[in-house]
């Protein structure tokens, strides 16, 4: 047995019993059978988990914590904070309204609405086939649970903040989130993921979302983990009739990150928009995977992912659109554009369309390019120094994804995060 496997066994044993023990035991056994994905797995062809295999996990320990206030968003109704995977009511704030809505921790929900939790939990993400889902399920302790009853409309965004303590220890957290949106309900959920720079740590998150008929979910994720972190995450969304998902992923942090979004149209008339921006520097490796499963007729999916890769970083986009036999009148489009800012930066892009229905409208495209030399000369000839000109053109490429965030306070925050990664660029406040 490898040291990693031994350290996971030790950690698993230390968690003790709990109401979900049978599920967790089954998942752990399955994880040990499956093992970590390797480059031989088609879905992991471009991303090696070798850095993960080198870690030996230690228990979480006390230490410094970034100030949650640093991440707060103006206009947020509820902010739920998790530290090292555990809910921290003392750092959380706000109460969801209107009444009947539950926005809190999964562990609390197990007591509050056990039937609902047990009905949906682990029903959508597949721990039988996916090793990382199995690992997450094996260590399932806590996460966010949000339940919107039929017709409930939450006007203010719900902010979920996942932090890792700066303890100097190699820790792992496996947050498990569940969002259940009843028929006709509407909510906006923002996730922020952040952690310290001084230590290697793993975040292995799984989020399951179930959208009832006509439900609307706007989901934003900002990943700004520490520079030595490994961040692995899956968002699995089950969409009911005429439901609408808007997902936006902003990936900036971590040494190695993989963000996967899967949407499945279980019924007709659904819509999903999957947007993403990944910006990597140094030796970062940022992988983005999307799977849109058009299982039903008359559904629309729109995808736009953009990557900015500098230094020796590496980006991956693999997007699969599957249009099944009965999914007539499907309208699907997928676009991935990448900007390479150095000779050593690298991107793998793999759009995949599999169409089994005959009356559909599908388009996909991928592009990899460098800064336009003409434009660069134009800017410089006007007196803008080279570095600032490069940043301005990079901003021009990336800012589209910032502008596509309709939630103003978040847009402002992301604009600042993106701009701060561009050298000699101070105009972000006014560029828009």
């Amino acid at each position: 047995m490898t040291e990693l496997a031994q350290s996971l066994r030790d950690r698993f044993a230390s968690l003790g019993n709990g109401p979900l023990l049978p599920l967790r035991q089954a998942a752990f056994a399955r994880f040990e059978q499956l093992g970590l994905p390797t480059l031989q797995d088609e879905e992991w062809k471009y991303t090696s988990l070798a850095p993960l295999a080198q870690l030996r996990f230690e228990p979480a320990a006390p230490g410094a914590l970034p100030d949650p206030g640093r991440f707060s968003l103006a206009g947020t109704g509820v902010q739920i904070v998790f530290v090292d995977g555990k809910h921290r009511p003392d750092l959380s704030s706000g109460k969801a309204s209107p009444s009947g809505i539950f926005a809190g921790s999964l562990s609390a929900a197990l007591a509050d609405r056990p039937e609902l939790v047990r009905r949906e939990l682990s029903r959508h993400a597949d721990h039988e086939r996916e090793a990382l889902v199995a690992l997450n399920t094996a260590f399932l302790q806590d996460g966010a649970f949000i339940h919107l009853p039929e017709g409930a409309v939450v006007p203010e965004p719900i902010h979920l903040l996942f932090l890792t303590t700066h303890s100097g220890k190699t820790t792992a957290s496996h947050p498990r989130n569940l969002f259940v949106a009843g028929r006709g309900s509407q909510a906006t959920i923002v996730e922020t993921w952040a952690g310290p720079g001084g230590q290697a740590y793993l975040t292995n998150a799984v989020t399951e979302a179930v959208l009832g008929d006509g439900a609307h979910l706007d989901h934003y994720k900002v990943q700004e983990e520490g520079p030595r972190a490994i961040h692995l995450a899956l968002l699995q969304v089950e969409q009911g009739r005429d439901s609408r998902l808007r997902s936006s992923s902003i990936a900036l942090g971590a040494a190695l990150a993989r963000n996967e979004v899967r949407a499945r149209f279980a019924s007709e008339g659904g819509e999903c928009t999957l947007n993403g921006l990944y910006m990597a520097g140094a030796k970062q490796h940022l992988d983005n995977r999307t799977v849109v499963d058009h299982q039903s007729a008359r559904c629309t999916s729109r995808e736009l992912y953009k990557g900015v890769l500098s230094d020796r970083s590496r980006g991956v986009f693999s997007g699969r659109v599957l249009v099944r036999k009965d999914a007539q009148k499907t309208d699907a489009s997928q676009t991935n554009k990448n900007l390479l800012l150095s000779d050593e930066a690298w991107v793998d892009t793999k759009p995949q369309l599999e169409i089994l229905a005959d009356d559909v409208k599908c388009a996909h495209g991928a592009a990899v390019g460098q800064l336009d030399e003409n434009a660069l000369f134009y800017l410089r000839s006007r007196g803008i120094p080279q570095e600032a000109a490069r940043s301005l053109l990079t901003w021009a490429f990336a800012s589209e994804m910032v502008e596509l965030i309709p939630l103003r306070p978040l847009q402002a925050r992301v604009r600042q995060l993106v701009a701060s990664r561009l050298p000699a660029f101070d105009g972000w406040k006014e560029v828009a």
């Binding site: 007196g383 120094p385 600032a388 021009a396 560029v431």
Partner: protein
């Protein structure tokens, strides 16, 4: 002498495009450079502005006595050189005014002058926009994005007005313009003529020179200036065509 070009040779790849250019331009003067397609006019403009695509193999360019060729493009702008592009570049996602203010402030900062804040800049921009009859709606748009040919050329002259260069090089500013747009652009350029500013107007056709009247006219062929004269030379060209122009100057080897 503001600009002195001596024996300038430049190539792109293995192809030599400038084959020994000599030219002197003094403050307040307007020089027209004419010539057929491929004669090297636009290359000369781009080499003066610092385009790195072209490799200078021989010769000197002095601007106010300083070695211009040693400077990167942005430093040439700081020194006071402006190139109005033949094909202005579209920069989606970057606002016109933001771009121009960034440029102006970069130049001012480098010169040790105070930067303009957004309010002061807007006042300056509004004043200069009148010069080329620029539509105010243009302020809310991205740099040249979706502009018509005429709007792009007007935008170049507007930028020139704001940046207030000592030497302006206008590269085929007349190309793609109808007569009304040509008049507007020429009026803008004429409004910027003064005794301190020099201009090099590059054009294929004499037409532009009816509106922007040059002090000197030079004819380029195969990477050399083959004839120079007063404005009447432009009229002669118009009548005879480039092929018939008598070479009165000993061409460089």
């Amino acid at each position: 002498m503001m600009l002195q070009i001596q024996g300038l040779r430049a190539k792109v790849g293995e192809k030599e495009i400038l084959r020994g250019i000599d030219l002197e331009v003094g403050a307040g003067e307007v020089h027209a450079i004419m010539g057929p397609n491929g004669s090297g006019k636009s290359t000369l403009a781009q080499v003066l502005a610092g385009r790195e695509t072209f490799e200078v193999t021989q010769g000197k360019v002095l601007f106010e006595g300083k070695d211009l060729l040693a400077l990167p493009p942005e430093e040439r702008a700081v020194a006071g050189i402006f190139l109005a592009f033949q094909y202005p570049v579209e920069v989606p996602g970057v606002g016109n005014l933001y771009f121009l203010r960034t440029a102006l402030n970069a130049i001012r900062k480098r010169r040790g002058e105070e930067e303009l804040d957004a309010m002061d800049f807007l006042a300056l921009a509004k004043e200069k926009m009148k010069l080329v009859a620029m539509d105010p709606s243009f302020t809310g748009r991205s740099v040249n994005e979706g502009f018509s040919g005429g709007e792009k050329k007007r935008n170049e002259i507007f930028q020139m007005a704001v940046l207030d260069p000592k030497l302006a090089i206008l590269d085929e500013t007349d190309s793609g313009l109808d007569i009304d747009a040509l008049r507007t652009v020429a009026a803008g350029v004429n409004g910027l003529r003064n005794e301190n500013r020099a201009m090099i107007v590059i054009t294929h056709y004499q037409r532009l020179l009816n509106y922007i009247v040059p002090d000197r006219v030079h004819v380029m062929q195969s990477g050399r200036i083959v004839r120079s004269g007063g404005r009447e030379l432009a009229l002669e060209l118009e009548q005879k065509g480039y092929a018939q122009i008598e070479v009165r100057r000993e061409a460089a080897p």
